[in-house]
Symmetry: C2
Subunit: 316 residues, 2 copies
């Protein structure tokens, strides 16, 4: 008994590797075991760790893996994940809640920075200024999903897509403009593509910019580069974003709040936030909380290593 | 029975007036009664409202009034206040906790934006990036305490003091500089003073800039103006501030978070935040929570008018 929170990591891509590094930065956690990816025997391997792992960090994808694996793991362990398909949160919440209640476990879903920190900020801001408008901007940063979408275009060898907030719209939001901005007004997409031998650049460019959902609703720039340049200049996963709320109090006093992140490594930051929510989940579990919860259920002080008296004294 | 949270406001200065306006912006609150200031019979008057008011918003000063009046009101009602003497929080917490536990009430202390929102951000940021440094800057905005300190200088009729964050230090903090900045490096003070007839400007200036604690540790500018200019250009209470945390994850990935407020009316914003914490306190009270609490004890979703399923669906 070390008194530490014993961690298992499920999935060892960028996020899982980030989680491993985050555990090393937090003295109240101990890494017990990493379970690699989609191995169908994974769940059997996990069963041997019941009683030896307190929380499983589910570092697997939201589109395919989490909806299936999440509830299965929640039948055995407390879990924390970074489920980020906004539209499917209620459905995923319900399935994790059911699994965790059946097993008497806690399942903390949708942590990270968006959903997660940004969601918390949207609630704090909306509550602080009930009359107003919240805008979320993402970037500058790599959208891995968009890079993968480009890769499926015939003629493309590999690609990187950056999400870029439109500066003039950002300034409008900061200036208190409360109109509903369109998708095109808020972000542009900036793509770097390595072609396969013999592919026609103009044909590829057209195919990319007209991809429905991914690029058609945006002003998209496509730049063709060689593999050396790609590997040298597009080998990290930076990201960032802004939550801005402008509102009014009294007889029209303008009030503005803004939260911003600028991240050299999106997966490492996501994992670090995830771990702070794992700490909070561990405290809530200790108090008897069961089923699925989100960042909205967390008393803010539970995220910190320090206890409440120390926080009141040194941080309040 | 309206189902609304029934509010009493204690104190009717800038904050109390802000609270009155905030109640009008939030459909789940109902203003029952405003208790004016320091009237010694106030407490007797309040007793008639036991059972008719759910929460008292204590809109009175932290230095003299709250430490005395706070526990007395907490013997009768649930309370929310904006106690902001950082160094005395543990002592004040203890006295409110004792009073509220004795009466079976809830006392939410130290809400507003700092302490309050900024405190919450400091915890969120510190937990998300355990290796790093947090800096808080205040301004540009009016420091009422500093204006009052100047007014006590002989020869001064009236004065306004603005707190100004030093731009170059702000940029250093944003750039990841993790040194401990000095008081002088972080803020300057910009004062506008109306002299009494016959006062010597240079003598007054010297007396102001050398005032211990208030101005001596800062680079301070003093500008003398006439009463007309004062009333025309210094008649509002704007404020603002920044919480910035730079940190590292993994093998030195730079990560940055920043929260910023820019407020046309400090008291109206403070009151608006206070009211969101009153909503949360009301929910916690309904769950059986008693004694003193702070923003750190609040599950973020309790601040919102919407319930958890709605928040998960629309804001997560």
């Amino acid at each position: 008994m070390t008194g530490k929170i014993r961690i298992g990591i499920v999935g060892y891509g960028n996020l899982g590797k980030g989680a491993e590094k985050a555990v090393a930065q937090n003295p109240d956690f101990e890494l017990v075991k990493i379970f690699i990816g989609r191995d169908p025997n994974q769940l059997e391997a996990m069963k041997e760790y019941v009683g030896k792992i307190d929380f499983m960090l589910l570092c697997i994808g939201s589109s395919v893996d989490l909806p299936i694996q999440g509830p299965r793991v929640a039948e055995l362990f407390n879990t924390v994940d970074t489920f980020d398909t906004h539209a499917k949160v209620p459905e995923y919440f319900a399935s994790m809640d059911e699994a965790a209640r059946r097993s008497g476990k806690l399942a903390m879903i949708a942590t990270g920075w968006d959903p997660g920190l940004f969601s918390v900020l949207r609630v704090l801001m909306g509550a602080a200024l009930p009359e107003g408008k919240t805008n979320t901007f993402w970037g500058w940063g790599v959208s891995q999903g968009h890079g993968e979408a480009i890769k499926r275009v015939p003629g493309v060898q590999i690609a990187r897509s950056y999400t870029v907030p439109v500066g003039s719209t950002l300034e409008k939001a900061r200036g208190g403009d409360r109109q509903d901005f369109t998708t095109r007004q808020m972000h542009t997409r900036d793509c770097y593509v390595v072609l396969q031998d013999g592919a026609d650049p103009e044909q590829v460019r057209q195919a990319i910019v007209s991809l429905p959902n991914y690029f058609a609703p945006y002003d998209t720039t496509v730049t063709f580069i060689d593999m050396d340049t790609f590997e040298r200049e597009h080998n990290t996963l930076p990201h960032g974003g802004f939550v801005i709320r402008s509102g009014s109090t009294g007889e029209g006093s303008d009030q503005l709040m803004e939260f911003q992140v600028r991240l050299a490594s999106n997966p490492e930051f996501t994992a670090s936030v995830m771990l702070s929510y794992c700490r909070a989940a561990s405290r809530l579990y200790g108090e008897g909380r069961r089923g699925a919860i989100t960042a909205f259920d967390v008393p803010v002080g539970y995220l910190a290593l320090s206890d409440m008296p120390e926080l009141r004294k040194s941080i309040l």
